[in-house]
Structure formats: C-alpha cells, structure tokens
Symmetry: C2
C-alpha cells in the first residue's frame, strides 16, 4: 500500500466505507477516479440512468447482456479485472452478432482497497473500451467492510445493435457445418494459474483477453452463413461445443490434432493435471459456419491480428445428437464429457 496517494486531490489513499455513501466522498471518488478515465458525454451527465439512441434500421434488434467479474489475482500477464470486465461483456454481445455500443459498470469495493489499484483498473477499462468501440454510459459503486469482499468485483452490462440480417443462435448448427476456433485455447486460464501457482515459463504466457468486435465484424463482412458464435470462457472449448451439440440437437466431432494449443499451455496443463479443452479463453471465439464458407472465414480470421492462429477443428454431424466426440492423435474416437464441477475457480 502506498503512503502518499497518487490520485490528484484525493484525501484518501484507500477506499473507506464513506466512498459508498452517496454523499461527498462518493462524489469525490466519481470525479477523482472514474470520470478521469471514463470521459463519455452521457456518463458525465450523471443522471441515474443513461439515455441511448435507438437503432433506426428496420428489423434491427437490441442485444443485452451482463457478467460479473471476480478474477483473482486482479492483475495478471496480459490483462487485469478491468480489461476482462470490458472484454467479457463486449464479446458476449459480439457472439450474438451485435455491434457492441454501450456498457454499464458496477463496482463492489472492499474497504481498504488502495485507490491507486482502482485507478489502474479504471484506466485499463477505458483503454479497452476505446479498443472495442464502446462507451461506459452509466455505473454504480458500493463499498463493503474489509473482509466482506476481495478487493474489487466488477459487473458490466452491455447493449449492442443486431443488424436486421443477422440471426445467430446456439440452436442453429446444422449437420455438415464446420467448427472453427479463432486461436490457441487455454491461454487465459493458464496465465492466471501461472501467477497463482508461481509457475515460471521460459517465455511469459499472456492471457488472450481481448475485445473481439473487430474480428466478428470482419467475419460478418465475408460470410452471411455464420450460424453460431460463442466465446469459450468458463468451461472452455469443451463447454461451448457441448452447449452447441445439446441446444442444436446435433453431434459434434473434433480432431485433437487440429485444436491449436500453445506448448506452454500443454506443459502447464500436464503439470497441473488439467485438460486444455476445459480451460477458459477470454479473447477467442468458436464459430459454426456453413461448410462452403469455412475456408473463406478461416482466411478472414487469419488475416486479423486476433485470429492469426485460427483453425478448422471439426464438424457438425447428424448422428449422436448432444454428443461431442474427439478423434485423438493416436487414433480412436472418444466422447468429450461435460465438466461436472469447478476446474479453476475465479478465472473471470
């Protein structure tokens, strides 16, 4: 904890209960931290609610999503809870085919949190919003007593606009479709674990945490036949494939040799007894695409900085609805079971 407070004009160097009071100290925190970083005009009006423009294209719909973030530690290689909180919600909107537009951000702060930590998190959120093309338009802050939370929890909600022609759904996969992944899996989860467990890699493994808005935009420009997009966060690739198989009432077969996994991730997983198929990513997507568009979408992904290691990893089958199977490196087909309990707590 720093003795001197690095935040301009602040009387406190850490969060006190009064910062959640709704009085002068709440106002100070808003001005000294949040409004310094979140500079959008709507937020600055400080109403209890933000007013948003309504999309005007006939047939457009709104997408609306929310996620809480409780990741531990708050800072990790390649990201932090703030970046994660923006990416998670932006990506959930993108996976619905939406153009992400507006975010809300609600903070639960633990008494004693250094203000400097909150400031770094807010700065990271602002930078990630810029990268994703979204604006934080409304927010809230609560403070709980020391020991009643763990530093900071952030809940973001997002509103985006779904163009008329886009109709994606977890239930839309059809036999014959190709399954793509936009890059190596498990980087985020292993990056977090490496900090928690003190594992040293020769090269530092970074979380893949990134907003996918520009990547999905490029995909939609090239193919109208994207059936379904999902980001493999908690539950990992396996969880997403299981959801698609169940909800689309199809079988899914993937080829182990085609699933991109970094050697560090594979090594750390072996060491810790984890399966990369279940480890969270925060900047990857799984796409189900009509077979005839698969190569075109793959090229588009690979031409994008966030999709350079994209791959076609499998296909959708009519047989065995609800079942995900994997053709292993050593030959043979095995069923990929659904994760039953917790593999890695507080990964996001």
């Amino acid at each position: 904890m720093t003795a001197a407070c690095p935040i301009p004009n602040s009387r406190y160097s850490q969060i006190v209960l009064g910062h959640g009071s709704g009085g002068r100290l709440s106002q100070d925190l808003l001005e000294q931290v949040f409004l310094r970083h979140f500079t959008g005009a709507t937020l600055r009006e400080l109403e209890d609610q933000a007013e948003l423009a309504v999309p005007t294209e006939p047939g457009a719909r709104l997408a609306f999503t929310t996620d809480s973030f409780v990741v531990s530690p708050l800072f990790f290689p390649g990201g932090d809870i703030g970046r994660l909180a923006v990416c998670g919600t932006v990506n959930d909107l993108c996976m619905g085919g939406a153009i992400p537009r507006y975010l809300s951000a609600a903070f639960v702060l633990e008494e004693g949190l250094p203000l400097e930590v909150l400031d770094r998190i807010a700065a990271s959120m602002a930078a990630t919003c810029l990268e994703a093309g979204v604006e934080i338009v409304t927010g809230d802050t609560k403070v709980v007593e020391k020991g009643k939370a763990d530093g900071v929890f952030i809940t973001t909600s997002g509103v985006g606009i779904v163009p008329r022609a886009r109709r994606l759904s977890i239930a839309a996969a059809r036999p014959g479709d190709a399954i793509l992944v936009s890059g190596p899996i498990g980087d985020h989860g292993v990056a977090i674990l490496s900090v928690r467990e003190g594992i040293d890699f020769e090269t530092e493994l970074q979380s893949d945490c990134a907003p996918l808005a520009s990547l999905t935009r490029a995909m939609f420009e090239i193919s109208p036949q994207i059936r379904c997009l999902r980001d493999p966060t908690r539950g990992g690739l396996s969880g997403v494939l299981q959801d698609i198989a169940t909800r689309s009432k199809v079988g899914i077969s993937i080829d182990e040799a085609l699933v991109p996994i970094r050697p560090e991730v594979r090594a750390a997983s072996d060491l810790l007894g984890l399966d990369p198929l279940y480890i969270a990513c925060e900047g990857r997507l799984v796409a189900v695409v009509a077979a005839e568009d698969a190569e075109r979408v793959l090229r588009t992904l690979r031409a994008h900085p966030l999709g350079q290691e994209a791959a076609i990893i499998g296909r959708v089958l009519s047989e065995d609805p609800g079942v995900v199977s994997m053709h292993s490196r050593i030959g043979g087909e095995r069923v990929v079971p659904q994760l039953s309990g917790e593999q890695l707590p507080r990964i996001c």
Copy 2:
C-alpha cells in the same frame, strides 16, 4: 443451515465453487433455482445475450442503468436483497421518465450460501418483476470462496423506453417549481438498522422498498410539466435535493414541518443520532414540478397506494444556487449540508 435440501433435484444444500464453473453444476443451479423462478421466454433461450425489441415510436429513446446491491442483512422487514435489486434498477429507469422493460441480474455468491436462501431471493425477485412489469432476460452467476464475499451480492441492469415527449433531467429545475415527496422518508434505512441494532418498535416498521413504475406512469398521465424525478436512496432526501440544486444551478428551500416522517423513524433517528433527511428510502420519489401542476400531481400521488402520504415540501428559488435550506419547525432558516462520509453502510 438446513440438512435436507429443499430445492427439487439438487445434490447440494449450499453453494459450492463448482456452481460457478460454467459446467454441469452451473447448469444445475440455473435450472433448479433461477429458471424455476425467472420464467421469461428470452432468458430460457440461454444465449449469452438477450435480444430485445426496439421501440418503434419516432423520438423514443432507450434508458439504461445499473446498480449493485450489497445490503446487510439479506432479509429485512418489508423486503430482501432480491426485491431491493429489482426495485432499485426499476426505479432508476422510472426516474428518467422511462417505462422499465428488461432487467439483467448478475449474482456473486459466497461458497456455503444455503441454496434455500438463494431460492427465496430468486422467488422475491420474480414476484417484484411481476409487480413492476419487467422481465429478467439475461444473467450471470459467479462463486467466490467462503470469506471472500458476504452471502450474495446482486447487480441488476435495466433497459427501458422513454416516450418521445418526456425530457426529464436533474438539471431542469426552474425557480418557482414545487418540490414533492411521495411519502414518509427514512423507512428503509431505519427498518434495516432496527434489525442490525435489535431495536424493537411497538409496531414493526417496514422498509418502503417498492417498484415505482405504476406511480410514475400515473404522474406522467396527469402532468407534462414534471421537470425532474429522483429516488432518495443513499444520501436520502438531502442528497437528492443537493444534487438538484447543484446541477440545476438553483436554490432549494424546504419546510421541515411539511416533510413526512413516521414517528418510529423520528424516534429511532433520535436514539441513534441520525438525521432522517439523510436516511435512504427505496420506494419513494422526489419530484420537481411546475408550480401550476403541483396540486394536481399531489392529488394523483395521494390517490395511488404508493403515494398516500405524499406532500409538497418546498420550492425552487433563483437565489443561492447550489444551496439547500430548510425552514425549521421552531422558525429560522438553516442550510442543509451535504453528507460527507458514510452514515449507514450497506443499506442497499
């Protein structure tokens, strides 16, 4: 903690880390608790984002808001954290003149929370949504280790529709306008405190916690000259008046004798050394209304079950911009100072 689990088909009687994994146990929690109570069709599609209809009236806007709820205790006379989480966000939408429509709900659960407690909270949220005319369309659940949160924190976000003609703003109060309050102040804060401090009232004081959608609808039907609405939550009546005075660059004068306060609230405040002007309500509103509409709006409020004890408590002045003053019962005018720190932590 109950030995047998009252939740149908659940293997667990309390929350375990695996309930936040994104795997089978997360799915179980969703089906066994949340989907039993939140029965809207959009949520049941279980996409990562909800699709909403876009308002079609030309000139309509969207309202978007968020709040986290960390109230302690989780259950209190007249409400619980679930009811509060719905009312708080619904009311923030209403205060912007919006018709509340869609809610998101994100839960941070502490390992060990009895499932039965979560079930009661979800049931209360569902009942309050019905009362408010809103639907929970998307959500999220995270679990943190025992001791890293305090039972349950809930963050709700809301989307509503603001009809074309409505333009409310905290900056819209004009000299001459009347200030109304829809009922007695401080009930919520004192109800919470009475549980925390073990104060016994002769009659049980209930929180005023309620969704105000039907009340604001009635007000808008009767008057096009409502300048500004605010719900006096954290910071209480004083905080709201201070905000209006500052942001509208006007003076505000209220009359102590006209501010409705229940005898129990006054007695408890005296006992605890608190000023009711700063104590949170969760089902009241403050309205700034053109003088010529004030009586009409007052009658409308009083004709509604949630506004029976409404009162005109003061007026907007051109002098002393930014200053809230109060004409006291014993004569004389005093400035009402802004709350500096925390009066009552975790009141909402």
